[in-house]
């Protein structure tokens, strides 16, 4: 298997001479390359599968069942969750608790968390030939941060060190179903979760509805560009899992990911 171009753009050759990049006349930063490649296209031996969608769309259930299926076949699998890097966690929770976060710092602190997991876990595992499962990937940031008012090009630029997933499942449930699932289970909504920082409504429930609705629109707007595999999240759990397993085995040659048995 080819291993060309494994290096990502962020880390290049220390001390190498760089072309002079001036500010463009309008004072905007120069634009970053918009064409991005998947891990497979970059020549990584591993594969990354991401699930995206609103809270309550059932994506975590589905990725858990996918993980069990792959593990039970004896494949090399690793699972990673959004916003879970240990070091960044204390800053994130402090910021959220004290409502210290602005759209920009909210975006940057999540990018820091993502970068930490990406550089220390995901990339090494993908180089070692693992199937990496991610509950949320960069698209969560693309959707949320833009809804919070960060410019789309800026957010995408910040995350441009990351390659694209090989498969992205987007769980499209009707907004009302997702809202009902969340609001039924967790009656008290956290400040940022409800998008209260956006002043959409003084009522957390109403704010949450508007906020989630806008995120949903962002996801839909990205779905063609990033080749989302759209799942009908209103279907039964088993129906969805059946589809996912079929798609995964069609797109990925699973036999390659078996844990090597001592001979």
């Amino acid at each position: 298997m080819s291993t060309r171009n494994i290096e990502r753009p962020v880390v290049g050759n220390p001390g190498a001479s760089k072309p002079e990049i001036g500010l463009s006349p309008d004072g905007r930063s120069p634009s970053l390359p918009t064409v991005k490649l998947t891990f497979a296209e970059q020549g990584y031996p591993g594969r990354l599968i991401a699930v995206e969608g609103l809270d309550g769309s059932g994506k975590s259930t589905q990725i858990y069942l996918l993980k069990r299926w792959l593990e039970l076949q004896g494949l090399k699998v690793f699972f990673s969750e959004w916003n879970s890097s240990a070091l960044v966690k204390s800053a994130t929770s402090k910021g959220k608790k004290q409502n210290l976060l602005t759209p920009t710092t909210f975006s940057l602190i999540h990018a820091t968390d993502f970068a930490d997991r990406y550089e220390r876990q995901l990339v090494p595992l993908l180089k070692a030939g693992y199937i990496v499962l991610c509950d949320r990937f960069i698209f969560t940031a693309f959707a949320r941060d833009v809804v919070r008012g960060c410019p789309q090009e800026w957010v995408r630029g910040v995350y441009s060190f990351a390659s694209l997933p090989d498969l992205t499942f987007f769980f499209k449930a009707s907004l009302e179903v997702s809202l009902a699932r969340i609001l039924d289970n967790r009656p008290s909504l956290k400040h940022h979760e409800a998008g209260m920082d956006l002043n959409l409504s003084p009522d957390p429930y109403e704010s949450f509805r508007i906020f989630q609705g806008r995120i949903f629109e962002q996801y839909l707007a990205m779905s063609t560009e990033f080749r989302f595999l759209i799942m009908d999240a209103n279907q039964r759990i088993e129906e969805q899992q059946g589809i996912i397993r079929r798609l995964v085995s069609t797109h990925i040659d699973l036999d390659q990911y078996r844990v090597a048995k001592p001979s």
């Binding site: 962020v10 210290l100 710092t105 060190f161």
Partner: protein, 258 residues
Amino acid sequence: MPPARSSRRKPATPARSRPTSDAVIVPRVTPKRFYGHGIPRVDAEDLTGKLIVVEGADGSGRSTQIARLVQWLEATGHHTIQVGLKRSTLVSEELEQAQHGNILSRSTLSLFYATDFADQLENTILPALRAGSMVIADRYIYTLMARDLVRGVDETWLRNLYGIALAPDAVFYLEVRPEQLVQRVFAKNQSLDYWESGMDLGLSRDMFDSFLRYQSLMLETFRRLQRSYGFDIVNGEGSPDDINAELQRRIEDVLRGR
């Protein structure tokens, strides 16, 4: 013998470092801009204060100059706020921990520093400027960018990241040759700092050697950044008095909107 009271002010001072009257200069408001996209919902036109940045390596005399500038600005009637790297409420402790363990990889550390910067920008710098204060920054995005550039981080990526930054009214880079810098650091601390010696880069296992090579790379990078960001390079090897007089003169120009 105590000096006799006199209606006259002090006798004419030799240096131009002190204003000769009680008249307080009201700074002229000049247009501000962000380097890139800026901060959501912040209008640069509301910012009536002035942002002045002092850059330079440890040992370049930054802190001395800043202390004197703050004193001078307050003496001449300007409310002054100081900011610096790693001082945010949000992530400064975590950054400190991360540095001690040397456990973060490059983009992560860059983003952590950018978060610290953004937090101070939004919660300290912009509100102070909106209130019409002088903000003196002990280093700014240029140090953060230079450190990353020396470590091979992509320049386009950094420029987009720091497109959130406000372009300062004046930036002074106190330039001191690495050979001189190392002497000053020893005179003060008797030891070299791991990060300021760039030991993480593996330039040399000898710390003294690594310090000189790392600081030369930083100096080159600052000169390169100077060409695109256009800040003032000040010879940091002159006498502290001369340097301060020069900074005061340039800041007076800034206050007059020149």
